[in-house]
Subunit: 462 residues, 2 copies
């Protein structure tokens, strides 16, 4: 519980109407997409950067724990106030697109802006913000930067970090830090923006984000490759890319997911379809689109594709994408509880990685449907459990542990885009050795010596 | 002077033949491209990462200062052993391309590999490493990463940091750190690679670099726009880019440089040419190249270009590029000493920035020819002095100070690609406030609490 005098002090900083400690608010801000719950002691809505600075300074002095929160859509618990303290919520006031600078092709936003709101605003003026996490309709850009969110278009366009040009942020001691510039090149001083990206709210609180925009390509077409097996599809992924293809997206559905979308949604696919690759290609000229489709068709067929389908109109494009977009809800036919991990491996390792992941599933008796962003090596691995009791859940976690171990052994990572937070923290020692974990602690300590910002996340000390 | 017992200890680590403290070696390793000289007390050539780790551990224990060194081609003194101690030179042993992984399109190199050697090796197998600093023929990739080198192709393809996928590095305490993966997405743990890039050898010593490669575009054409004035050319830069052009390079020569290349090289240009934009466009298909050239031609002419020339063959391309490639040596007609700074501003600020830079030159009576990477906002500003005495040099530095002030005021940076090192250290307080400089110190201290790695660089304490 937070002492009443602290609540009063916070109200003096941000105003009466921006601090809440009533039951309803505490419950409303206790969750994220992990579906676990931890109540904060108070919810505070800063109005601006100055508020953030004063709140942090106060909390740092009084050792009050702060959990920064965007939209609460994270999959790994980054916004969960696991130690109580205050939740610093950006959604109420710090949610404005401050500027779209057409001349320099950048957008300046506050951290609470929803990803899709920015996408729409910039597309309205002919520009393009590529990062498109599956949560794009509701996740905030502050959260996207803090987790370094990916998405489907990463295969061609990269991830959030590739678009962050500058940040403003507040250190726990209240210092306001400007990092980066509205310039493509800037090598003066340490790359502070670089270390804040993906730091999961543990180093500083973001108050302003400057994002690179690019011209919107004029032509886009969707494609689908139908393969007899997962292995054939996975070979086609890295071989088509190595042959020069540069698709916007190259999404993967494995045999179980193909079965699920047929079964649950009645998607019309060939009987023998064992795996799908679905994506878009784009270009400024139609010939670039054709060039891309030719490489894909050739490489896919060389790797055993039974069919290569191109959507020549919007309706067909929707049809091709339908199966992918509904992959996640469809796989509930295998169980009502999924342990959903977003591993990533070097693309050439995809065939072997999936073989080994299925073997782990078989060993434990779990179905493990996999789908996701094969074009960048990032696969959503779902260990499916049905009405699991404690024992089954425990078994599920053992399976996840084995999957992480094989992924890391193959040069992959615990997380391609979801972050570590609380849910992957127990696995950090699979991916990092003692020296590396010690460096993380030293960096945390350099920014936040009193450990008030989101403590206990990413395997860092409570 | 380094105690003889330390020299002996270092010889035990790396072998007799890899430690030198004779006069010839100390002189040979005393310089970089700043043309200032500081002798180390010894030059050590590590054979591998284990050597680096043991040397650092030893030096950390005995508080011996270490200056890491790639090719010594830096413009800001990053590789100068200003405090003596040992120079850790990568060029002798740690200079190998370890792997070109075609399937995942990455190269793994040691830090001493010369940039152009990598470019050639990957182009031989149809791949492309875009970062092309002007020093590409002799600068090392370790130096490129440490300074976050840019180049001409940054307008389309970005800079070194956009290609670093993973690093291995050694902390001053000897800890070997792996940062990043051979995967496009990786959000597990702090972005250590992000903070090591551009850290100028002050945080850790790089031992291995994994770089992203891309498919080599099939078609390239060069273009030149001839403008009546610098202002017209500068407007054309950001207006053509905002109109959707995505040139590989968009290089700029101002009126003084145009005069210099005509005068010194006899380049044939129209009498009234006041500024040039020169660059390449590329694409996988010819129509993409045409698409780019059409946007450029239209935008350039809308902004007053007198001529727009396209090179349709290699000879013509060489001819168009000739003036740009010889800009730097040509401007010596204005003086035998240049103060060469690589400021960068948001592109829309280019016209105003240049007007103000010339005004500073006029005020002091200096010619200030400018050229460089206009397409990414990065301009090489040359304050020209002829046989300067102390007083004139001092005046030159005042002019530079004023230029940095106006650049920062316009949202620009002290350095687009050269780094800070020693030569720009006195100007750090123009660009950063006390809080930001304090954060840099805290980060330095987290990695290197005994301040043995390249102390005194980037405005950090000696």
């Amino acid at each position: 519980m937070l002492d009443a005098k602290h609540i009063e002090a916070l109200k003096e900083i941000v105003g009466q109407e921006n601090v809440y400690s009533d039951k309803a608010h505490l419950i409303a801000y206790s969750y994220d997409a992990t579906r676990t719950r931890f109540q904060p002691d108070a919810v505070v809505f800063p109005r601006d950067e100055k508020d953030v600075s004063e709140i942090l300074k106060y909390c740092n002095t009084h050792r009050i724990i702060i959990t920064p929160r965007g939209a609460g859509s994270g999959f790994t618990g980054g916004a969960l106030p696991t130690q109580g303290g205050i939740t610093l919520a950006m959604e109420k006031h710090m949610n404005k697109i401050l500027e779209i600078d057409m001349e320099n092709m950048v957008a300046v936003v506050q951290p609470g802006v929803i990803n899709m709101d920015l996408q729409k605003a910039v597309e309205a003026v002919g520009l393009f913000y590529p990062p498109d996490p599956a949560s794009e309709q509701y996740s905030s850009l502050g959260g996207n930067v803090s987790e370094n969110a990916g998405g489907m278009r990463a295969a061609k366009y990269g991830i959030t970090k590739d678009y962050v040009m500058a940040l403003r942020a507040v250190r726990p001691n209240g210092d306001i830090i400007r990092a980066g510039k509205r310039t493509i090149k800037d090598v003066a001083g340490y790359n502070i923006a670089g270390i804040l990206i993906a730091s999961e709210g543990t180093l500083a609180v973001l108050t302003e984000i400057t994002l690179k925009l690019i011209p919107k390509p004029k032509f886009t077409k969707a494609y689908m490759g139908i393969f007899p097996s997962v292995e054939a599809a996975m070979n086609a992924v890295f071989k088509s890319l190595a042959a020069g293809a540069n698709p916007v997206a190259m999404e993967f559905l494995d045999s179980l997911v193909v079965h699920a979308v047929k079964e649950k949604l009645g998607v019309d696919l060939p009987e023998e379809a064992g795996a799908l690759l679905i994506g878009d290609v784009d270009g400024n000229v139609e010939q670039e689109v054709s060039f891309q489709l030719e490489i894909l068709e050739r490489s896919f067929k060389e790797n055993g594709a039974q069919e290569f389908v191109v959507a020549h109109d919007a309706a067909k494009r929707e049809e091709l994408w339908y199966a992918r977009r509904n992959a996640s809800p469809s796989i509930t036919i295998f169980g009502n509880k999924k342990l959903n991990e977003d591993i990533s491996v070097p693309r050439s390792m995809l065939p072997k990685a999936l073989t080994r992941i299925y073997a782990v599933g078989n060993k434990y008796g779990f179905k493990v449907p996999c789908f996701g962003h094969a074009g960048d090596g990032n696969i959503h691995v779902n260990v499916m459990l049905d009405n699991p009791d404690e024992e089954l859940l425990e078994k599920g976690h053992h399976a996840i542990q084995e999957i992480f171990e094989l992924v890391v052994e193959m040069g992959g990572t615990l997380s391609g885009e979801h972050g570590i937070g609380t849910s992957k923290a127990p696995f950090m020692n699979i991916a990092f050795n003692e020296q590396e974990l010690a460096l993380f602690k030293d960096i945390k300590n350099a920014f936040d010596p009193n450990n008030i910002l989101n403590p206990g996340k990413m395997g860092l000390p409570n």
